[in-house]
Amino acid sequence: MTTPSDRPDRPHPAAELYAREYRAGLMDRREFLGRATALGLSAGAAYGLIGRPAPARAQPAPRRGGTLRIQMDCRELSDPRTYDWSEKANESRGIVEYLAELKRDGTLRPMLLESWQANGDATEYTLKLRPGVTWNTGEAFTAEDVAANLAGWCDSSVEGNSMPSRMAAMVENGQAAEGAIEIVDDLTVRLHLLRPDGTLMFGMTDYPAAVMHRDRIGTSVADHGIGTGAYMFEEFSVGERIVLVRNPEHSYWGDGAWLDRIEFLDYGTDPAAWLAGADAGEFDMTYETVSDFIDIFTALGWVESTVGTSSTVVIRANQEAEIEGIRPYADPRVRRALALAVDNAVPLELGISGRGRESRNNFHVAPGVHPDYAEIAPHRQDIPEALRLMREAGMMEYEHELISIDDDYRKNTTDAVAAQLRDAGFKVRRTVLPGSTFWNDWTRYPFSSTNWSHRETGIQMLNLAYRSTAAWNETGFRNADFDALLDQATAIADDTARREVMARLEQMMVDEGVAIIPYFRSLYRHAREGVLNAGMHPKYEINVHHLGWA
């Protein structure tokens, strides 16, 4: 049997196919790069395939040494698989690293892996480890570690483990399928998937996929500090300050780790307090700058960086929710009516001051960001039709309670939607819950808004939120046809065909009125002049190994 790994010089056949499509104008460059690197090509090789030179590093390497202070919530650390905030991964990324990382431009860069190769139909992945990586205990990083982590990622029995959904193609009965993870030699792991999955590597770059020492799976890094990264914790005060310093006992594999010391400082959730801290010169970089404060920070002379993402606010009805014995949102006409009453440009303007891009229609795939986005008919506000549907469903007199979290853009976006629903003639009551209680029941509210973070591909989004068995399915949308199409689309295939399936999935979301998805956000971050490699990342990632001063 020959596998692509026997011929590492030859690019993946699908990548060549993508290259042809790119040249034929069927996909844009960003999309091509994302897909080709997911199959195991380096960014340079991917550029080569389409006959373009790889762009030179725009920035010089940072100088060695120095301290960087970052404003960010300092949260406690648990088992990385249960991380529910990007901040947690940012705190631990200087110690426990990832097999690969997602760059700001949507391409993948190998980290603890040297390379990976998928076979022709994406049912087998060969992972080549980077030689010479050691744990800070002095032990070598081997295929045993990778296999143990992969098995841990597939383990659904761990409370709060969100990795199994990303590794779904290897999971059987809540564990890694028999024979799915094969250790070939010390530096090679081969994965045998139950079904084709072209998004597996993206799952391994996600923030809960930190690679732990094989004997420490399930523990918190804060308890022992064992990892492959260049840093160690000097101070760990939750809610206050977390300090990382270079680990003198450890020789780091990478050429980064420019800084001697990184401080994460917690300024709470009020952006006004962040501004006060910036004005007082207490830190050098924000985790994320939001709303009106974006312009204010820029006016202070800080350097703004922005990135387009698929982050969004989903205003959804839950089809299974029961209120006083009735299921108001079980009827697709009601859901459709709600969507038709909204002009998506309004929440974009009022919710996030236009800092983003209007969605094409109410489906969870982002134009210009997701490589598998398919163009379908755009959304148009149609109030007469909305009224007709709502009357037909006999729900004109029903008062909709629209719930949101008490936080600027989510609240404002939801307010804008509620106002439009009222303008159309529906009865709407707004309920705003504090962040401390909102997340208790977020998947079960009858009608509410949820913010979703960026995922690299549309198909990941759909699998995560709209598959009937998904843990985070908040819409109560459970549809066998949709699931079957999802399976089809998740398997890698000829792009036009996949687009076709995606188009059907998208159209289904629209026709079923699954949710109102008005826009996709751009994210912003500010840093002082001279901070390098701190550009905003679509997933809020901060890799302290890359940061430095000019």
Partner: protein, 349 residues
């Protein structure tokens, strides 16, 4: 006198018990326990996982029983494995190795529990935070009390004069401006790039590593001004009343200078009433400190209360409420004793 103090101490213990029980009830309502499970085990865990987590960590016991565990009168329980070894529960929290865990670990054993938010023993959190808030309150008092007394005495010695009107207006203005208004105004005026003065900083976060004039002035002034006006008004009233007394007139008629009359005869009697008010400022400052610490990002006792409430950190909230009860009742006791010492007409007990 001794009996009086003992009685008060008994009342204090009883109040602390009642208060902690109320807080315990509220923090242990089902939705709050669910919130706790979700902050601890992941924001998006399922209901079944929540139930499992609560069970394993000893939160599934009846509430009264767990209150007993917190007090230390009942042994802590939790899920056990087949061999009967505890897997979780009160005594294992924050102790990585379950082997040497004691059976009792409540307040009576001197164990204030484990903060689920800050991931360290509550006693340590409270001690550190109280120290920081103590620094803030200490400076605030140092500014507030002398200033208030001076303003009150100056305003009260000549009732109705222009000086009195001016100072009274000022103290009414400061008292009627709550901290969350004055603090914001101060930050905007003296610490922001908007106005550009930037004399001080609008964030006191760096004050944790060392208090400077630069980073601590605004929070101190914000706390001090709010409390100052009230004390000043009370002092003024007391002073004005003393100034109308017979013996003051006698002293003036004897030919003493106005200055000597005020300093030697009026002041001592005029300062008895404000003493009580100053003592009362302690509990009020405790609430003010919550706002000021949040505003200036100063991680003190008030911030611990806010963080504990936001994360339903049961042990931390209980300790905070006990400390609050002790502060309030102890300052009242001190004020009663002090008042009796200052004013021979008053007898306690």
């Amino acid at each position: 006198m001794i009996g009086f103090i003992l009685g008060r101490l008994g009342a204090m213990v009883l109040s602390a018990l009642c208060m902690s029980f109320v807080v315990f009830m509220l923090t242990n309502l089902a939705p709050n326990l669910e919130k706790l499970a979700k902050t601890q085990a992941g924001a998006r865990i399922t209901d079944a996982e929540v139930a499992r987590w609560l069970e394993k960590n000893g939160y599934a016991e009846p509430m009264l029983r767990r209150y007993g565990e917190w007090l230390g009168v009942l042994p802590a329980a939790g899920a056990t494995d087949a061999a009967g070894k505890l897997l979780g529960g009160r005594c294992l929290r924050g102790r990585p190795d379950p082997a040497p865990a004691p059976r009792f670990c409540g307040v009576l054993q001197g164990d204030w529990g484990y903060s689920t938010k800050f991931r360290q023993p509550v006693a340590g959190v409270i001690a550190e935070r109280l120290k920081r808030t103590g620094v803030l309150m200490g400076w605030a008092f140092a500014v507030m009390v002398p200033l208030a007394l001076a303003i009150g005495v100056l305003a009260g010695m000549r009732e109705g004069s222009a000086l009195d009107r001016g100072l009274s207006t000022f103290s009414i203005a400061t008292t009627s401006t709550p901290e969350y208004v004055s603090g914001v105004i101060f930050v905007a005026l003296f610490a922001s790039s908007m106005v550009g003065l930037k004399w001080f900083t609008g964030s006191a976060k760096s004050a944790v590593d060392g208090v400077t004039f630069h980073n601590f002035t605004l929070p101190v002034v914000t706390v001090a001004l709010y409390g100052m006006g009230y004390i000043a008004r009370m002092t003024r009233a007391s002073m004005a009343e003393v100034m109308t007394a017979q013996y003051i007139r006698t002293a003036r008629l004897k030919g003493l200078s106005f200055r000597a009359v005020v300093l030697r005869h009026a002041l001592r009697n005029a300062l008895i009433a404000p003493f009580t008010v100053i003592m009362l400022q302690f509990p009020w400052l405790l609430t003010g400190v919550v706002i000021v610490e949040a505003l200036f990002v100063y991680p003190g006792f008030g911030d611990a209360l806010v963080q504990g409430a936001q994360n339903n950190d049961i042990d931390l909230l209980l300790a905070v409420s006990v400390v609050a009860v002790i502060v309030v009742l102890a300052t009242q006791l001190l004020s009663d004793i002090g008042y009796a010492a200052l004013n021979p007409r008053i007898r306690v007990a």
